[in-house]
């Protein structure tokens, strides 16, 4: 949740630092989380956000306290960028009662309603109507909160995408649809799923202001989201942002991703969003390498502490679950 910043050409050091810290935090979370998965500490689904960090980071830095987000099955990054407590995230993945959802939800269902995080979702595309609904609730109560739904190229071919966005449009809702186009749905290439791979054009077809942005450039994403949020808060209705990106690995922890051509992967890795955030921070503020190192160490330590906390947390209580279930 960023500060209430007007659109500006040179972002403040605070913003630049926030963007870098967030991107790095996501990188650490996913990299270390995968290790925990391989150790058998995490079970079920784990869809890493590696390579897409620039998007959640840039978008959330442009939002305010009181705004809302809804996320996807690949949701850790959005959660972290939204300012989630790493301890409670790791505890959730470790099925502990100290987790965000008491260990009842898991990776695909982390949510935090109190802070406006409507949650990850195991159903591709489902976050779109949910986000539009939150925006509608906010319009009805006269709030100027903006709701962002993060969604995916895969979801763009699902009926819910156009149907929900159209509702946001006719009601001029403060809603931003961020389409993370990583060019795959599991192993299916976007070209096999649609003739028109410029996904932002779908918004245009129903009168929604729509843009495409480089998803590996956190600052570009930040700026575009700022402008979009302003459009929304002016009452002009929803904005669609297509952020083009690429995964750094397969769809899921256990997917080797052999279908991803090496050169293309190398190309996108050479345009790594975490490196970009670090470079932006250095170039635009003159911060030193050792200051950056200190941040990185701090973030790594935060994650390690979260693992320690989670491992030490007690197992879920069968009794409290029984009580919960009895009146579900």
């Amino acid at each position: 949740m960023g500060e209430p910043n007007a659109v500006a050409n040179a972002p403040s050091r605070e913003i630049l630092e926030k963007i870098f810290r967030t991107a790095y935090k996501i990188r650490v979370f996913e990299t270390e989380g995968i290790k925990l998965y391989r150790q058998g500490l995490i079970r079920g689904y784990f869809h890493p956000y590696l390579g897409q960090e620039g998007i959640a980071t840039g978008v959330c830095a442009a939002l305010k306290d009181g705004d809302y987000i809804a996320s996807t099955h690949r949701g850790h990054g959005h959660c972290i960028a939204w300012g989630a407590d790493i301890k409670k995230m790791v505890a959730e993945l470790l099925q502990k009662e100290t987790g965000y959802c008491k260990g009842y939800g898991g990776s695909m269902h982390i949510a935090d309603i109190k802070t406006g995080n409507l949650g990850a979702n195991g159903i591709v595309g489902a976050g779109i109507p949910l986000g539009v609904g939150a925006a509608l609730a906010n319009q009805i109560r006269g709030s100027d909160a903006v709701t962002v739904t993060f969604t995916s190229d895969g979801a763009s071919n699902n009926g819910t995408f156009m149907e929900s966005l159209n509702l946001a449009a006719i009601w001029d809702l403060k809603f931003i649809l961020v389409v993370e186009n990583n060019q795959y749905a599991v192993s299916t290439k976007i070209e096999e799923s649609t003739r028109e791979t410029d996904l932002y054009k779908r918004g245009l077809a129903i009168g929604v202001e729509s843009h495409q942005v480089d998803g590996n450039d956190p600052l570009a994403v930040y700026r575009m989201t700022q402008a979009a949020a302003e459009t929304c808060r002016k009452g002009k209705g929803p904005v669609l942002i297509e952020a083009v990106t690429y995964r750094h690995m397969g769809h899921h922890v256990n997917d080797p991703g052999k279908y991803m051509p090496e050169e293309k992967l190398a190309h996108y890795k050479s345009r790594d969003p975490v490196d970009r955030a670090r470079a932006d921070l250095k170039d635009m503020t003159g911060i030193t390498d050792s200051e950056i190192s200190a941040m990185e160490t701090e973030i790594a330590a935060e994650f390690a502490a979260a693992v320690e906390f989670s491992v030490a947390s007690p197992e879920v209580s069968a009794e409290s679950f029984a009580a919960f279930a009895a009146n579900y």
Binding site: K102, L118, N121, P129, V132, I140
Partner: protein
């Protein structure tokens, strides 16, 4: 007490709750300007404005999904779906989102979402506009399933629905909108999970809901003339179900018939029968009988439509069967 039509009682509930709680709003097809196909929302647009009473495009999945999202975010949406049949377009949002959110968030997230819709047969609207689909919602943990049979229950249950925090499938019946009944003055709330004995009796328990209640009451009256005392129980809410009322009545009468308009296979009646099997078996002097629709879609032809759902003669015959079974039948097996 005043006499009101079912549809007017529903409107009163909406009106009172919208006045009380500014987060209550309504969306649906033709519900604003036109006041809804059954006139339930008539006048609310003028009173509460286009922000809180909105027409939608033909987008059931979107409307339901948007309603669920608004509920999660703290508002109290009422989404009107013209026919329960069309709710099938929004099943993902109902089954995978609304019903599960509370558990998935460890109990923190709540979804005070109301889907108002209507079902049942009604004069030749055919297979895609005549279903009674309560069983689908009944099976999904987390949903509340409400099926009022009278204006008073309709009002009281809808008001309660708007004050509790779980997703509610509020299922009206197209044949009931124009029926009349007495409705208490002033604040009138009917809590979920409390059945109503629509007619007290001692010889046999008949359980019915929605449009089967008036039909069953007529049969009960007929049978009373023959000296048979029928107790008619209307659970009013299928989830939560007033098991105690049902089991107590069956313990008293030792015989039970369940009447549902929905088709027989896998309906709610089957589940109630299975509950009586598990918890009331030793009380029974006869098997619990189910009177239900045929296992087919509803045909367009009126005679066939009527043949496809329970009518009075079928209900009466089942009650008689339940009563004429003597202990001798046990020995005869």
């Amino acid at each position: 007490m005043r006499e009101l039509m079912y549809r007017d009682a529903l409107r009163e509930a909406l009106d009172e709750e919208m006045a009380r709680d500014p987060t209550v709003f309504i969306i649906g097809e033709g519900i604003a300007e036109r006041g809804g196909s059954y006139k339930v929302t008539e006048g609310l647009l003028a009173k509460y404005g286009p922000g809180r009473v909105r027409d939608t495009p033909i987008a059931e999945a979107g409307m339901i999904g948007v309603g669920v999202g608004a509920a999660i975010a703290g508002a109290r949406p009422v989404v009107e779906i013209l026919y329960v049949d069309f709710a099938m377009l929004g099943m993902d949002m109902i089954v995978n989102q609304a019903a599960k959110f509370r558990l998935m968030t460890g109990g923190e997230g709540r979804v005070p979402f109301i889907m108002r819709t209507q079902g049942g047969t009604g004069g030749g609207v055919a297979a895609q506009h005549s279903q009674s689909l309560e069983a689908l919602f009944y099976h999904i943990p987390g949903l509340r399933v409400v099926m009022p049979s009278t204006p008073a229950d309709a009002k009281g249950l809808l008001k309660h629905a708007l004050r509790q925090d779980d997703p509610v499938m509020f299922l009206e019946h197209k044949h009931l909108y124009m029926t009349k009944g007495m409705v208490p003055d002033g604040e009138h709330i009917v809590e979920f999970g409390k059945g109503d004995i629509k007619r007290a009796g001692s010889d046999v328990t008949v359980i019915a809901w929605s449009n089967m209640v008036p039909r069953t009451l007529v049969v009960a009256e007929d049978l009373a003339a023959e000296g048979i005392s029928v107790e008619v129980i209307d659970p009013r809410t299928l989830v939560p179900l007033d098991r105690a009322m049902i089991l107590n009545s069956v313990a008293k009468t030792r015989r039970c018939v369940i009447v549902q308009e929905a088709n027989r296979r896998g309906g709610v009646a089957s589940d109630i029968s299975s509950i009586i099997m598990e918890e009331g078996f030793w009380h029974l002097d006869a098997p619990v009988e189910i009177v239900a629709g045929l296992d087919i879609p509803i045909p367009f032809n009126l005679a066939l439509e009527q043949a496809s759902v329970p009518q009075k003669p079928g209900i009466k015959a089942a009650i008689r069967r339940a009563l004429h079974l003597e202990p001798a039948a046990l020995a005869a097996e």
